[in-house]
Symmetry: C2
């Protein structure tokens, strides 16, 4: 149903810790194909493993290339990440769109693509961008747009997962559903009776009804479960000791 996940290509990455953090983020979100173009400190890099926090399989399988053209081997749609506009004519897309296109190509044609990230300090050069089909720009604060390398990869990896995720946008955990209506009604009636006995309601036409309606709304909207309704009735019983000080009989 879903196509092959995209390759992550790091061009001339500088820091082993960042390569490790990239591997961890990839594994967190279901990516696995890591490709390195001339990593500054060689490969393997002893700083990468600890930063990968268990994602060492991705580091072990990482392939190293001499140039970006070689690293694009086998990929059919390649996006280069860049923040600044460069003097080349190219589509510029959001991460959301880039991932949607990669997913569409994978789903319809079964073909893999890739996303290219530049070195930490400088980003990709124009000649690198020229190799890619399109440029992808992560939306950021215009006054503070320089993302950490691994955090940039997180954005794409998360997008990949988000667009396939089948988790419902909202659900309720440990919840057996709302109590039967008569249980809720009994709570409301019980509260009303106790409040009436304690002269909670102001006198005057409609005052009791208006206040009772407020309480009914407040108790109905949360969709309390049967256990929660029972808890609330227990709380009422304990708090509402009759004026004489005797324990209430019920």
């Amino acid at each position: 149903m879903s196509g092959p996940p995209p390759a992550v290509i790091l061009v001339r990455p500088q820091l082993g810790v960042n390569i490790g953090a990239v591997a961890r983020a990839m594994m967190n979100f279901g990516l696995s194909d890591l490709r390195l173009v001339r990593p500054r400190d060689g490969w393997p890099n002893p700083d990468a493993g600890p930063a990968a926090s268990g994602a060492s399989a991705i580091l072990d399988n990482a392939r190293v290339y001499d140039d970006l053209a070689g690293a694009c081997e086998g990929l059919h749609l390649v996006f280069a990440t860049a923040m600044l506009m460069r003097p080349l004519t190219r589509r510029v897309v959001t991460p959301e769109r880039a991932v949607a296109e990669l997913r569409a190509l994978g789903t319809s044609e079964g073909l893999p693509g890739g996303i290219v990230f530049g070195p930490e300090r400088t980003g990709l050069e124009t000649v690198d961008l020229a190799l890619a089909h399109a440029v992808c720009t992560i939306p950021t604060n215009p006054e503070f747009g320089s993302l950490n390398l691994a955090q940039a990869v997180v954005v794409f990896a998360y997008e990949w997962m988000r667009q396939q995720d089948t988790m419902p946008p909202e659900e309720l955990m440990n919840y057996a559903g709302p109590a039967a209506m008569e249980k809720l009604e009994a709570l409301i009636v019980d509260l009303d009776r106790r409040l009436t006995e304690n002269r909670y309601f102001s006198e005057g036409p409609g005052r009791h009804e208006a206040a009772a309606l407020t309480l009914r709304n407040l108790l109905t909207r949360p969709q309390f479960s049967e256990a929660e309704v029972r808890t609330l009735r227990g709380v009422l019983r304990i708090l509402n000791v009759p004026r004489g000080g005797d324990q209430e009989r019920e």
Copy 2:
């Protein structure tokens, strides 16, 4: 138009580098209100500044609290991040939904909210989750779901930016629009003439027309600009030296 950005609350964070990386990610994506509940190594932490890479204003303005209840001061809608199901009845939402709710509350009522993150090793405890209105779970690889603290913050900070971003999903940079149709037509005619002279087209009924149509499609779909059409004509002229070896006159 957009409401106040959500606060980021780190409960008992362990590593200063992570707090710094959180600050950087927040600033990258337009968040600013950082709150710390009992950071393990005290505050300020000398490791945080370098990791923040220039987002020191966020660290300088971070507030420290003794407990999560105190850190929720002034916030009206609080999501707690958690991976595992806990024994409490609570809504569980995706990051997308959590951010949409925070945005909606900010836009309609002008009220700020917050997102709570637990310590690196253990995540939030159930008593922390119980303080929040709802739980938010980042969709991850079920076999490798433990996110780095700063990378978890990146997901929400990116979602915040993504949902307000006005960048078009796709645009073309450094592109003056497609060439006038007659310029493109002249290129196609020129190519056809040169190929005919060089006996490129197979003989037989319809063969020339079919091949010419393939070439027309290939040259029309990219929506070449006038400059690109001019470049292609120059390339043709240089490549297509007449058989005699003389330079072509045109």
